[in-house]
Amino acid sequence: MTDTTNKTPTEILAPDVVTPEVVPAQAPKQGKPASLWTDAWRELRRKPGFVISALLVILMTIMAAFPQLFTSIDPRECSLINALQTPGGEHWFGTDLQGCDYYARTIYGARTSVSIGLVVTFFATLIAVTLGSLAGYKGGWLDSTLSRFTDIMFAIPLILGAIVILNALGGSRGIWTVSAVLIILGWPTMLRLMRSSVLSVRELDYVDAARALGASDWRIITRHVLPNGITPVIVYATITVGVIITAEASLSFLNVGLQLPAISWGLMISAAQNRILTFPHLLFFPGIFLSVTVFAFILMGDALRDALDPKLR
């Protein structure tokens, strides 16, 4: 590939390098070449997949932050008289075994899932990016130690590991316990991605140039290596939010995740599992919300990958 960063837009658009994707109308007017992210944003805005997933993610985040906007009913106010009503009139989504309003509980369930998904992904990514860029950039014993440790963690599948730890922890498992366990098990893949991405960026000319100019390691990593190497990790992290939400729901379903009185889609389905055949609404509503939330994050990661990875075009 030719290096486009030090060329003017007219040079970039010279006939011999014009590709179908680059039409003159898209050229930035400031005389400064568009960055990867500007390019990606321009493309993403026109992709229905990205727009839909972004809207869904925003909707779910608002639902998680302000459930009161969607329902005025208290999800914990239940009366047994109303137990197991099918959807209709007063209770849009029906009621559960305890007579709680299922719509309110489903809405409030978003908070658990979205916050666990975001918190776990944030910290796992932070660990992976920090250690991964250190391992990739520094190399040597640091790299070997971290890589071997990653291999070990990698050998323990997410759900199996989480079952063993959470089962061992016993007692009361809240959002923070479940999140901590998922963080502990969630970073290895992203660390590998970050490391290999940094390894390829490290050898590039502009890093050599920065080093020749006397820049410190810290400056080289934060100014040059990270911005150019983090793209695959961001794509993967977006998908990870969905994966973590699924994992939390599965663990809660298996009774090793969150516990009552927490409100979680996985717990709701777990509590309903013996009545699903007679009262399908108990499965249907939390199941749909759960799947749509995961769908939004995975679709978004997909759209990001398509936009950010020019190889796939």
């Binding site: 050998a155 323990i156 699924t246 599965s250 389905i269 699903i276 499965l283 995961v294 769908f295 796939l312």
Partner: protein
């Protein structure tokens, strides 16, 4: 090449010890007294308590317990449950059912996943491609327990095509629905991976050369591209084994298949640490061995990649 294999085996040994240690350490953290849990509401005689403590080395330090455990594992002793049944026996009894479920799931996922991926790949950006793309994201997004219950409800009860539970002893017919559910998520990944790998390879130089030589499109795609495109898919299948194991716990619980997964579920509920550790250890070992084999095969099969 030989040195690569030796290094890879060395790495496997390290992973084996470290992973079993981690699992053991995690379970050792279980608060509470397992013997009291076993006694339930009844008072247990001190002598019996003493015997049990000694038998399971509960009074020894942590590292000694780990040593007892890992030296047992190497000799095929995975510990025993509190009613003195060797974990290996439990595994021997239950493993064949899980294996059957996994094999059926594997076949479904390979056949449908690879076919859908190839279809989408050779018709890149056409309707079918978009359909495969969107439907795979949709399938990946549905958690396996939601999918399991939905399948039970729709295919099992409403349509009545397949039995809702696997039955005892499970019949081939009964395995079908759980296997489809277990395969679904990985199937979608396989389809996507096959597609993107095929798309990438179809643009490779050697494909252009093959076309320029005048080979038929069928031969170019069928022989040249297809074989090379499957390499990442096979690697994925090895890694995916981990997800398949996690999925088996849920699938076997939902469809009531008395396999390894259901045993893990039951053991976590009754706090039988030894059984959980025994089975999970075995699964982690299987996972590590399969990945080792695939890595070595990879080195043999793909001469483009040099390991040093």
């Amino acid at each position: 090449m030989t040195s690569y294999i030796i290094r890879r085996v060395g790495q496997f040994v390290l992973v084996f010890f470290a992973a079993t240690f981690l699992i053991f350490a995690m379970v050792f953290a279980i608060p509470g007294d397992p013997i009291r849990a076993l006694a339930g509401e009844k008072q247990m005689p001190a002598s019996l308590r003493q015997t049990l403590t000694e038998r399971y080395h509960l009074d020894e330090p942590f590292l000694a317990q780990y040593w007892h455990y890992v030296s047992g594992v190497v000799q095929g002793d995975l510990g025993e449950s509190f009613n003195q049944r060797p974990v290996l026996d439990i595994i021997k009894e239950r493993f064949p059912r899980t294996l059957r479920l996994a094999i059926y799931a594997f076949i479904i996922e390979m056949v449908i996943g690879v076919t859908a991926g190839i279809w989408a790949g050779i018709r890149k950006d056409k309707f079918l491609d978009s359909l495969v793309k969107v439907s795979t994201v949709a399938v990946i997004s549905i958690p396996i327990f939601v999918l399991g219950f939905m399948a039970q409800l729709l295919i099992g009860v409403r349509l009545g095509w397949l039995p809702v539970t696997a039955g005892n002893p499970p019949s081939l017919h009964g395995y079908l629905l759980p296997a489809i559910v277990l395969a679904a998520v990985s199937l979608a990944y396989v389809a996507r991976l096959t597609r993107s790998s095929l798309v990438e390879n179809l643009r490779a130089d050697y494909v252009r050369t093959a076309k320029a030589k005048g080979l038929s499109k069928r031969r170019v795609t069928g022989i040249h591209t297809f074989r090379n495109s499957l390499i990442p898919v096979i690697t994925f299948l090895a890694i995916d084994l981990g997800a398949l194991m996690g999925g088996a716990i849920i699938t076997e619980t939902i469809f009531n298949i008395p396999g390894i997964g259901q045993e893990i579920y039951n053991a976590t509920r009754s706090q039988e640490g030894a059984v959980v550790v025994g089975i999970v250890t075995l699964l982690v070992i299987i996972y590590a061995v399969v990945n080792l084999v695939v890595d070595v095969m990879y080195a043999v099969l793909d001469p483009r990649i040099r390991y040093d």
